[in-house]
């Protein structure tokens, strides 16, 4: 599942994150970014992974911390497993490795 926030709300996102049947990856940027392209690649290779394009950074401040990340990886719950800076989010291999790690944890 690929969603964009907005129109998705932060509340709906939080509800999705606590669903233990899915893991999640948030990409914070624009639809034209390489990082979002790689997020979509991960979605098409990894089952039970939901990806979200976050256009409104403030809406995910709760999970973003202070590091101004470009990507946030979750495991099977709403706990942040790893945050990516822009360069890391534009590394497909790293994105896939960390998503796999988060799902195996």
């Amino acid at each position: 599942m690929s969603e964009t926030l907005p129109p998705l709300t932060a509340e709906a996102l939080e509800a999705d994150l606590i669903n233990e049947e899915f893991s999640a990856y948030l990409y914070i940027g624009s639809a034209a970014d390489l990082g979002w392209k790689f997020a979509q690649t991960a979605f098409k290779l990894v089952p039970r992974l939901r990806i979200y394009l976050i256009l409104d950074r403030v809406a995910v401040a709760k999970w973003a911390g202070n590091s101004n990340p470009a990507g946030i990886v979750f495991g099977w719950d709403d706990k942040v497993y790893r945050r990516f800076d822009k360069a890391e989010a534009e590394n497909l291999q790293l994105v896939l490795d960390i998503i796999a790690e988060a799902m195996n944890t």
Partner: protein
């Protein structure tokens, strides 16, 4: 939008279509070529129990390029043995038939039984198919208990690990030349190759399979084009290299040469064939002249010793003069200069082989080879000058037996010098022909470039002088005399070709080739090579340059006659008898060669030890003719020999020992060393 589309059927169709493409692409005389295999990257995460990972298939995956399929098999008394191509020479039995085939590949009717070159592709398609099904299955699950949810998480996590590893291996396979963005484009269905294809919007494995399918289709089309292209011409040529002399051999189906008489080499070594007799004669001539040479060197104040002192000095002087003149040749006359010219001429010539541009192109290519030779001549003159200096300084025993192997090196260097120097006088004629042909090619820029390239060579020829051939001839004569015929192999610049010609075939008319070594006048130790070439005459592209090289020997237990130069002495008696003296011995040695050796077997074949009997001419007493006989052992095909025997002459001391070297082998070793240097 959740991935709930039923893709299994589509994937199955793609898989079947892909396999069908593989199978049909393999049919005919052509096959895909694979390149160097790479070990798969170790998984970063532990593989799940139900892993459907490609098990290294990605690492082995290469997209095939069209090529001619052929194989060479040695049909021997002990079975059929494949001969590898484009590698070091392999030993074949002198009684064998070498059989060249252009096989139809038909083992492709099911997954797992496709021809080996295609297996990684078939495995990958299977993997993509299974991974796509697995992804759909996991995505469609609706767990109803905590246990089912746990299982779902474990299975999804395992699939994620496999996905990460798959991408890692795709990236590390250099032959695929994929980067992360390209992989993302393929998975996302955005790759340019997908124009008009039926893509999946949420299952990347379907798109990966589709991409591989498209790439295979491209190769299949190329194979089909090649197989039906009448412009592609195939030739098969076989050659025998014996003691430096090269001759063409008959291959059934591929030339019109007459088949030779049936002359199998005797396995006992007691009845040499005419070809083996030639080898023995050459060995004997070299052993005898080396004996004379060493005798002269050992004589105090002998005439040859005086000659040895003087001749290299004269040769050195002339060589120095030549080296000085050769420095006028411009080193910057680069390959690029000719490349520009020849490319342009090739464009002008097009497919018309009779056009003035095509004729000029032919002359220029030979001219370019001459230029390369001139550069080599400079190198060989410098090498020879240094060697001559060393020859002057070395002791006679060091010349032959020293670790530097100076005699052999000088012999090798001299041959290269002779080969180049004898070709040089033809250059002025070639330049004249090119100058005459230039005005016929209506391209002023090209004419100017060609004139400029030739000007440097014309200047050089003026500098080396008209007496070059005379000077070079003097060096050759003096060094030849100095080195003795014992150490200079016959220089052959041309290939001896029987009456008849080679046949050229198109890919739709390939026939098996058969070379019967028993009818090829080969001797033990000869190098027999078979060259398969497929050239696209329209483009000039060499589609298939394959070379099979074999060395003729005998497998299992066999005898081999040989003639050795030896240094022998009596075990007791007066000084005249116990002094080491040069002699010649004829021997028959028995060897054992292992077929397909492993480990110590390889060492055994490398040592090629032999045990046998010998008959030697000796010089240990007052008899005019002294003969001795006894045992002999040898290593490295007679490179090193030793033995003992009984002198039948009327001396009081009959027992003697000897050590020896096979100078032919020694010289060949020296030549190899020179080439490597």
């Amino acid at each position: 939008m959740k991935s709930k589309q039923p893709l299994n059927r589509a994937i199955g169709r793609i898989g079947c279509a892909a396999l069908a493409l593989v199978l049909s692409g393999c049919a005919g005389h052509f096959r895909p070529k694979t390149h160097t295999q790479v070990e798969p990257i170790a998984a970063a995460l532990p593989p799940p129990a139900e892993s459907v990972a490609p098990a290294g298939s990605i690492a082995r995956l290469t997209l095939p390029r069209p090529g001619l399929s052929q194989s060479l098999t040695e049909i021997a008394f002990d079975g059929r043995h494949p001969v590898p191509s484009n590698g070091s020479p392999v030993n074949v039995d002198a009684h064998s038939v070498l059989f060249l085939q252009f096989p139809q590949i038909v083992r492709t009717d099911a997954v797992g039984s496709a021809s080996p070159e295609w297996e990684p592709i078939v495995e990958m398609l299977t993997y993509f198919d299974q991974a796509a099904k697995r992804m759909n299955e996991i995505n469609s699950r609706q767990p109803r208990s905590a246990a089912e949810r746990k299982q779902l998480q474990q299975d999804a996590a395992a699939a994620a690990s496999r996905a990460a590893n798959m991408v890692r291996e795709l990236l590390s396979n250099k032959s695929l030349k994929l980067d992360q963005v390209e992989i993302a484009d393929i998975v996302g269905g955005l790759h340019p190759a997908f124009a008009g294809a039926n893509l999946s919007t949420n299952n990347g494995y379907v798109n990966l399979a589709l991409w591989l399918n498209i790439k295979m289709q491209e190769r299949r089309d190329a194979l089909q084009t090649l197989a039906t292209n009448q412009q592609v011409k195939v030739s098969v040529q076989a050659f025998r290299d014996s003691n430096g002399a090269k001759s063409a051999l008959h291959v059934d189906g591929w030339d019109t040469f007459a088949e030779g008489p049936y002359e199998p080499i005797d396995r006992t070594g007691l009845r040499p064939t005419p070809a083996d007799q030639e080898r023995l004669n050459a060995e004997r001539a070299r052993a005898e002249s080396t004996k004379e040479l060493v005798e002269s060197i050992m004589e105090k104040d002998g005439s040859l010793r005086q000659t040895l002192k003087a001749l290299p000095g004269e040769a050195e002087q002339i060589l120095n003069q030549l080296a000085g003149r050769l420095t006028s040749f411009p080193s910057e006359l680069a390959a690029d200069q000719f490349k520009t010219l020849t490319n342009k001429l090739a464009d002008l010539a097009g497919a018309d082989a009779q056009s003035p541009a095509a004729k000029l192109l032919g002359e220029l290519k030979v001219f370019q080879a001459d230029v390369v030779r001139i550069k080599m001549l400079g190198d060989s003159v410098r090498t020879l000058t240094n060697l001559v200096k060393n020859l002057k300084q070395a002791r006679p025993d060091e010349l032959i037996f020293g670790s530097e192997n100076l005699f052999a090196q000088a012999g090798g260097a001299l041959q290269i010098f002779i080969g180049i120097a004898t070709n040089l006088p033809t250059l002025p004629d070639r330049i004249k022909r090119i100058q005459e042909a230039l005005p016929l090619v209506a391209d002023s820029v090209l004419q100017g470039q060609a004139e400029a390239a030739m000007q440097s060579v014309t200047n050089f020829l003026g500098a080396v002088g008209t007496d070059f051939a005379e000077k070079a001839g003097a060096v050759i004569e003096k060094l030849n005399k100095f080195l003795g015929t014992a150490l200079t192999l016959q220089v052959t610049t041309s290939i001896k070709k029987p009456e008849g010609d080679w046949l050229i075939r198109t890919p739709d008319n390939l026939v098996p080739g058969r070379l019967d070594l028993r009818r090829s006048h080969v001797a033990l130790g000869d190098l027999v090579s078979i060259r398969v070439r497929a050239t696209n005459e329209a483009t000039g592209e060499l589609v298939e340059p394959v070379l099979y090289e074999t060395e003729v020997g005998l497998m299992g237990l066999h005898g081999k006659p040989a003639v050795h130069f030896i240094m022998a002495r009596a075990l007791s008696g007066p000084a005249q008898a116990t002094q080491w003296k040069p002699n010649v011995a004829a021997a028959v040695e028995w060897h054992y060669t292992k077929r397909d050796p492993h480990a110590w077997g390889k060492t055994w074949n490398w040592l090629y030890p032999g045990v046998g009997i010998h008959l030697a001419s000796l010089d240990q007493g007052d008899d005019s003719v002294e003969l001795g006989a006894g045992g002999i052992i040898s290593l490295w095909d007679g490179l090193l020999t030793g033995g003992f025997g009984y002198n039948f002459s009327n001396n009081s001391d009959h027992e003697y020992v000897f050590v020896g070297v096979n100078l032919l082998s020694l010289l060949q070793q020296g030549k190899k060393q020179f080439r490597h240097d």
